[in-house]
């Protein structure tokens, strides 16, 4: 029962049957793009709802509960409101860059979304440098934040943007190195092969035991910093900077920043799941015969990691900007470098735990 395989394959075959090859390729790509845009919007809105609901439960509140069942449509109503709002901006803003910034942010997160595998063969873009591509693309987003903060002609925005620049540059390293630790274990940069390696020998968090766990912890810390969420939300630190880099944005432009933040969180959680928790693999291979259920397992694990990040956010105070850098350069980076060596030694000596 290979539904997921057959759906994509059937559409593909049918398109190439009725049209000429170049035209069919274009149509196919457009279809995929539309599917991803729809997923982007829906997942973003759902995550906003989830965040608000979970935050409410941490804080002894109810959260959104009026629009739709359990307030599910609250974020859709909010999005509609934002769409209908007037786009205002400061007079002396650099208009071109000011309008460009939200697109940078949103395009970066969309591109990263395209390489995520939702299930076996249910994978839009499986290139051989998949993980590398993810790291490369996810760091484009910060350009949008820098541009937005700078072009707003607002000092608070500028401070936020500058903080974001140094934060992303620093934590990119840790994300990259902790991913590299796993790549050492997997022996490949291609996402489908990384997952295949886990199918053969167990999830990497078990297979790589101690160094993999250290790498996972560092990845979660650095990933939270990468997505600019508390306790690393220095760039929007509302008690210090008002709203940080997006202070001067309104309406849909603001919503782009807002949605991109949540999609970035989804992406970081997805990378974590792919690298450490076996992507769409089911625990102990219980549903291996039904690849479609891979989507379910993948989303379940991703939501679990997202919940962990939300838990961080609603518990911890915010770091100060110099402590942010101390944490990265004095703690995470040395540990990470040591960890890579440890992992290499373990792989070399064959000390991994294999089922």
């Amino acid at each position: 029962m290979n539904i997921s395989l057959s759906i994509t394959k059937n559409i593909h075959d049918w398109l190439f049957e009725v049209m000429s090859a170049p035209f069919a390729t274009v149509v196919e790509n457009v279809l995929i793009a539309v599917a991803f845009l729809a997923f982007f919007a829906l997942a973003g809105l759902l995550l906003v709802w989830m965040e608000r609901r979970i935050a409410a439960f941490f804080q002894l509140r109810l959260g959104p509960n009026r629009v739709g069942p359990m307030g599910l449509f609250q974020t859709i109503a909010d999005a509609l409101k934002l769409v209908s709002k007037e786009l205002t901006g400061p007079d002396k803003a650099d208009k071109f860059l000011y309008n460009l910034a939200p697109y940078f942010v949103i395009v970066a997160s969309l591109m990263a979304l395209s390489v995520l595998p939702f299930s076996q063969e249910f994978h839009a873009f499986d290139i051989n440098i998949g993980v590398f591509f993810l790291i490369a693309v996810s760091s484009i987003g910060v350009i949008g934040i820098l541009l937005g903060g700078w072009s707003s002609n607002n000092k608070y925005s500028l401070i936020g943007a500058m903080r974001s620049g140094l934060q992303t540059i620093s934590y990119e390293l840790s994300v990259g190195l902790s991913i590299l630790t796993i790549v050492v274990l997997a022996g490949s940069l291609q996402i489908s092969e990384i997952i295949a390696a886990q199918q053969a020998g167990g999830w990497f968090i078990i297979q790589g035991h101690i160094p993999a766990m250290i790498a996972f912890m560092i990845f979660m810390i650095a990933g939270t910093a990468e997505t600019n969420r508390a306790p690393f939300d220095l760039i929007e630190a509302e008690s210090e900077l008002g709203a940080g880099f997006h202070t001067e944005y309104s309406g849909m432009k603001f919503a782009y920043f807002f949605l991109a933040e949540f999609i970035n969180m989804f992406i970081i959680a997805a990378i974590g799941v792919i690298l450490f928790f076996g992507g769409w693999l089911s625990p102990f291979g219980i549903t291996e015969s039904i690849p479609l259920l891979g989507i379910f397992w993948f989303m379940l694990k991703v939501l679990g990691l997202i919940f962990l990040m939300m838990w961080f956010r609603w518990t911890f105070p915010r770091l100060r900007v110099d402590q942010l850098l101390t944490l990265e350069w004095k703690y995470l980076l040395p540990i990470n470098l040591f960890n890579i060596v440890l992992m290499a030694v373990i792989v070399w000596l064959g000390l991994t735990i294999n089922f």
Binding site: L60, Y156, A230, S239, L241, F316, L319, V321, Q323
Partner: protein, 373 residues
């Protein structure tokens, strides 16, 4: 501030930013003119007056009973203590002896007010350093105190329960039980405050060694309350000049020596424990008797100058009345704790980072209507 030559392009520049009057961290309409070099604060210039309502002038117009309700609107988080200050000043000037029952009730409610104020401060302190959840935990416990106030005094914040000569009406029959329930509840919740925020490594790193105010500076700036006690300046009016029922209760003055943001935090946490101890000593033996001493409908103070000080949640509140023998004061001056504490802000925060300023402001526990009056 434009760069004209090429060499200037890489020089660091100082720039101004306006923190407030509409800023989440200034807790009201306080405006700080900051000179900043990158993230480091070079100068702070507080700009006051955005919520000035000329309460002192209005007091000159009103009779002594009417003055009391205006003091609710100064430091609204210690409304009862402000009321008490004016009432004590008037009673002392008249030479009026209030019943024992009144003294004890006033003390209990004052300590409950202090607890409520510190609970709100704790929530906001957490929020200012970025932990948003503390806000709701602080408000959960404060809600119980507000309910006690609402049942007995009729209002949650601006209670106006005191009148010169005593209290407006007697305690509600449920009062004692509710206070006991609250103390039992809060004794389990206050340790939770510690595990959630005090012990947190990020919070400690954010606050320890930041915004240090030495004892000499604390005295010379005239700071009082938790801000001064964190620097080792023993200034608790309840200890040094006891009023109401404070002379018959045992409690420790929360005194620390370091004077940084973290000790200011610790002083308030310890004060919550002390307040609970004071309430526990008094709640079981509230003496019977009248709840007010009758006064004339028109109170006329003798000619002269009268001063009364009390310890609010923020520090020492002084009430200075100049009377010319009429039914309203000739001049009335409030010495508000927030104003003096704010004056030390520049000393504490210059040289630290923007994020530190927010934490320092949070431990000053500023209530802007108290500063501006």
């Amino acid at each position: 501030m434009t760069t004209t030559t090429e060499n200037n392009a890489f020089k660091s520049q100082e720039y101004f930013i306006n923190m407030g009057p509409q800023h989440p961290a200034t807790h009201g309409v306080l405006r700080l003119l900051l000179t900043i070099d990158g993230e480091i604060i070079k100068n702070i210039d507080p700009d006051l007056g955005y919520i000035h309502r000329s309460i002192e002038k209005m007091c000159e117009r009103d009779s002594y009973q009417q003055i009391v309700h205006l003091t609710d609107r100064m430091d609204y988080l210690s409304a009862h203590i402000n009321n008490e200050a004016v009432c004590l000043a008037v009673e002392n000037a008249l030479g009026l002896e209030v019943p024992e029952r009144v003294k004890v009730i006033r003390t209990i409610i004052a300590e409950l007010t202090r607890l409520a104020s510190h609970q709100l401060w704790w929530g906001v302190m957490g929020m200012d350093v970025g932990a948003l959840t503390t806000y709701f935990y602080g408000f959960r416990d404060r809600e119980m105190i507000n309910d006690i106030f609402e049942e007995t005094c009729g209002a949650r914040l601006t209670m106006n329960y005191n009148i010169p000569g005593g209290l407006m009406f007697d305690l509600h029959p449920n009062f004692v039980q509710r206070v006991k329930d609250f103390i039992a509840h809060f004794k389990t919740k206050l340790p939770e405050y510690d595990t959630l925020l005090t012990g947190n490594v990020i919070f400690q790193k954010r606050t320890q060694g930041v915004g240090i105010l030495t004892k000499e500076d604390a005295i010379s700036f005239g700071t009082t309350g938790p801000v001064a006690r964190a620097s080792g300046f023993s200034c608790d009016v309840r200890k040094h000049h006891p009023y109401s029922a404070y002379d018959r209760v045992q409690f420790n003055e929360a005194l620390f020596t370091v004077g940084d943001t973290f000790t200011r935090y610790q002083v308030r946490i310890q004060e919550m424990w002390e307040s609970m101890a004071i309430i526990e000593q008094l709640i079981d033996n509230i003496p019977d008797g009248e709840f007010k001493t009758p006064t004339n409908a028109v109170i006329k103070l003798p000619k002269g100058e009268f001063y009364q000080r009390v310890e609010t949640a923020r520090g020492e509140l002084g009430v200075f009345i100049v009377s010319d023998g009429k039914k309203n004061p000739y001049r009335l001056k409030f010495r508000s704790p927030g104003f003096s504490n704010l004056s030390a802000l520049k000393k504490m925060a210059v040289g630290s980072k923007l994020g530190d300023l927010v934490a320092i402001m949070a431990t000053l526990d500023i209530v802007v209507p108290d500063i501006d009056r």
